[in-house]
């Protein structure tokens, strides 16, 4: 086993970019004696420290594990490439930030899967930790777990991960680590431990399942091979969010994280039913926290962190029942302490003018709106229940209350998209600008800034668009160019787009099967890592990896799937049923919209979960 030498580590840290990423010891980080814990858990985030420390899930689970007196949770992040190379050169193992233990000494290593393009980093981190990347090669050492939104299609990672957690982690995590602790205390073997874990609701142990394929490459069968493994893995759901565990202190990084502030998770889930949105399907139904709970959490966190900003987090904060009451109370409480309140991911049809006026008392940040598509027809296809009038009313309100920066998010390559839909984006942008100039000079703020961002649509598992093929690379490039031309003609608009290469790889993994693991391994072996960072993405190596594995990216990214096709993630019961998703897909093609189920159950499948949907 590689040992951590203080001298070599000191020297290495003095030679890398931003060494403060690797030091730990931040305010509110735990310091428990490593050797006294009955169970040790290394929470690994497969991206940089700055990205990982901005993530809410890690804060919640770190807190929950450390709340157990017998357990210890420490953190590790993907080292920046200079540090990763340095660790190899100096023969040092990847270590946890808190007590600088080599990761291989932990009982469990848990990865959070937020984004497919972090997958090579998982292999890289395991390798840096001196742990065999394939489960089958691990005879002892830590059990490798993974959870998070991408775990809903776990197959591309199946050979590397021992245990997946599907669904809300709060309760399941305690059950899983208790199980491992008990197995460890009872001296059970690795296999016995995995068997015990497989019996917990929400847990998927890929080694206990087998897949076979048809001649055309589609999945022929998928079934458990061990009696301990359920044939359907059911997602875990936290029913009472108001009483769910939430940290009373956040770790305060020394170096600035991307989001370095207090986050209040005001609710989980969104039932508006946008058909491209995986989160909207995976986190059903809507569960809210009470204003009382949130104000208490804000106070605890403010005292414990000294942060200057509170942000409200959810999939659609504008839908939170008590938004005005909450925002008003927060502003009232914190204005003297110079703490600002910000509302991200606001749905444009529910912006409360009153809240806007309240927030700008403290600070005016930009207004972000996501119409997603340029015409009403296409917005109906994707079930984005927002009209042009809604949008214009929202920006008018914003301009009248002194905002002048607007960001508009769109997707290109949505199902049924035509040239007219792209042209519609230009029309919307022009209307936003005209709205600004229609507000009297004496009222509006100076310096209008309108930015249009276009990302490439990536079809995701467990959405009504899971059967849809992604646009081919050349089509995406052409659409991006056309849109750039259209927006070029609108004076005063900035246009950004995302690299289509990344969206294509994302599409392959988002609906990939077990064979994608070979591509992943091959790409990593030939040097791919940090793919989400454009300066490190090596698309050429990825294409080579597909070739070397005899697989075609188009099979995964661009192919239309049929109703009867067995999909690699069909064995997971995410709550929303395949029948409901298919029905939504058919409605989408007809341009029929589906209303938010808060006003009437649509029968998505969640009603089968006890105590989840009251309707």
């Amino acid at each position: 086993m590689k040992e951590l030498s203080t001298e070599r580590l000191d020297r290495l840290l003095d030679s890398v970019l931003k060494p403060s990423r690797y030091i730990g010891g931040e305010m509110n980080a735990v310091s428990k004696p490593f050797d006294q814990a009955e169970l040790t858990f290394a929470f690994c985030f497969p991206d940089s420290y700055e990205v990982g420390m901005s993530h809410l899930g890690i804060k919640i689970l770190y807190d929950i594990i450390n709340k157990q007196p017998w357990a210890l949770c420490e953190r590790a992040f993907m080292p920046w490439p200079d540090m990763a190379d340095g660790l190899r050169r100096e023969n040092l193992p990847l270590f946890s930030l808190e007590s600088r233990q080599p990761l291989s000494r932990f009982d469990i290593i848990g990865f959070t899967l937020q984004y497919e393009m972090c997958y090579t980093n998982i292999l890289e981190m395991l390798d840096l930790a001196d742990i065999p990347v394939y489960s089958a090669d691990r005879k002892d050492g830590p059990i490798i777990m993974a959870g998070g939104p991408c775990a809903y299609n776990p197959e591309p990672l199946a050979p590397f991960i021992d245990v997946f957690q599907i669904g809300d982690g709060e309760d399941m995590m305690v059950e899983a680590i208790s199980c491992v602790r008990d197995c460890k205390a009872a001296g059970k073997s690795r296999l016995e431990t995995l068997r015990a874990l497989a019996g917990i609701e929400g847990i998927y142990v890929p080694a206990f399942y087998e897949a076979s394929y048809n001649e055309d490459g589609t999945l022929a069968s998928f079934a458990p091979t061990d009696p301990c493994a359920p044939s359907v893995v059911r997602r875990c759901v936290v029913t009472d969010l108001d009483h769910a565990s939430y940290p009373s202190a956040f770790i305060v990084p020394y170096t600035e994280a991307i989001h370095d502030r207090i986050v209040l998770e005001i609710m989980r889930g969104c039932t508006r039913g946008c058909r491209f949105c995986q989160a909207g399907m995976l986190y059903r139904p809507v569960r809210e926290r009470s204003v009382e709970t949130l104000l208490r959490q804000a106070e605890e966190l403010e005292n414990a962190t000294g942060y200057e900003e509170i942000s409200l987090s959810s999939l659609s904060s504008g839908d939170y029942t008590h938004l005005t009451e909450l925002v008003t109370a927060l502003i009232e409480r914190y204005k003297d302490k110079k703490v600002s309140v910000s509302l991200p991911s606001m749905r444009l049809d529910s912006i409360v003018k009153q809240s806007l006026e309240e927030t700008q008392k403290i600070r005016k940040s930009g207004l972000t709106l996501a119409p997603e598509a340029g015409t009403q027809r296409l917005r109906d296809v994707i079930n984005k229940g927002v009209t042009e009038d809604d949008l214009i009313r929202a920006v008018k309100d914003a301009f009248e209350t002194g905002w002048s920066t607007v960001k508009l998010y769109f997707m290109i390559g949505l199902p049924t998209e035509t040239e007219e839909d792209l042209a519609g984006i230009g029309v919307l942008a022009r209307d936003v600008i005209n709205t600004y100039f229609s507000v009297p000079k004496s009222v509006r703020a100076k310096g209008l800034r309108v930015t249009c961002s276009a990302s490439t649509f990536v079809p995701k598992a467990f959405t009504p668009f899971q059967w849809q093929g992604q646009d081919e690379y050349d089509t995406i490039i052409k659409k991006q160019k056309d849109l750039a031309d259209i927006l070029h003609q609108v004076k005063g608009v900035n246009f950004n787009w995302h690299e289509p290469e990344l969206s294509m790889l994302e599409a392959c993994f988002a609906r990939g099967d077990r064979r994608m693991a070979d591509v992943l391994y091959q790409a990593w072996k030939t040097g791919c890592r940090m793919d989400a960072w454009s300066e490190y993405l090596r698309f050429d190596l990825w294409l080579d990896a597909f070739k070397a594995c005899g697989l075609d990216p188009a099979f995964y990214a661009n192919r239309m799937r049929g109703e009867k096709e067995l999909l690699p993630w069909d064995f997971i019961d995410a709550g929303v049923t395949k029948a409901y998703l298919w029905c939504e897909w058919q409605r989408a093609l007809k341009g029929e919209t589906t209303p938010d189920c808060r006003n009437g159950c649509q029968g998505c499948g969640m009603q089968r979960f006890e105590g989840v949907c009251s309707k």
Binding site: E7, R11, P19, Y254, G306, K338
Partner: protein
């Protein structure tokens, strides 16, 4: 009223850059609930003054930060509230209350003592110390904003000696017109010793001084 805070920035915290340290201190002061004075204006912020920023990687045994206050408070109360709000690796060692007219520590700073520690025997380097000190001028290349410049650091070296085989200590000028960082002194010492290869070492600023070598924190 202002409070001079003497704190230690060592071990893993030596890797924290100056801007990050300032933010860390601001947040600690916010957590402490102490009556820190804010600037006026659109974006009010704390006006913390540090005697001298440390380079990333260099430790500081007795660093000094000046905190303007909006209300009187006893030294003991201030120290205990701040200590409770600081991460354990960034301890507050002492505080001293001064009145608003007290000159900023940075303006009184003249020199600093450093300790330079090696993991391995540094004898060949140490042997070069008397030869270096015997020189009338010591010309080194110094990076400035406008590029590199040759300058004489001999008058900026107040003291330089070996403590033992792995440990050098020195006192160097640090003020607006004449600052010599310990790394620069080491450049000269390596050149004097004729050694091409560098040994890894850790730098620690042990103490800062004002006029007549009076510790800055007492001025």
């Amino acid at each position: 009223m202002k409070m001079l805070v003497i704190f230690e920035k060592s071990k893993r915290i030596r890797h924290v850059g100056h801007l990050d340290l300032m933010r860390t201190m601001q947040r600690a002061l916010r957590r402490s609930g102490l009556p820190v004075a804010f600037s006026n204006g659109f974006n009010p912020h704390m006006l913390l003054n540090f005697a001298a920023p440390l380079s990333v990687g260099t430790s500081g045994r007795r660093e000094i930060m000046e905190v303007p206050l909006s209300k009187e408070i006893s030294e003991a109360d201030f120290k205990s509230a701040l200590s409770a709000a600081l991460p354990s690796d960034l301890p507050c060692i002492a505080v001293r209350a001064v009145d608003d007219k007290h000159p900023a520590p940075m303006s009184m700073l003249r020199a600093a003592a450093y300790s330079i520690e090696f993991y391995e025997n540094a004898r060949p380097l140490i042997d070069a110390i008397p030869r270096l000190l015997a020189r009338d001028t010591i010309m080194v290349m110094r990076k400035t904003k406008s590029g590199e410049k040759l300058c004489d650091i001999r008058p900026m070296i107040y003291d330089l000696c070996a403590v033992d085989d792995t440990h050098i200590s020195c006192t160097l000028s640090i003020c607006e017109s004449a600052t010599c960082k310990p790394e620069l002194l080491m450049d000269a010492l390596y050149a004097e010793a004729g050694l091409a290869e560098r040994s890894y070492c850790l730098y620690t600023r042990m103490q800062m001084y004002g006029e007549n070598m009076v510790p800055l924190e007492l001025l």
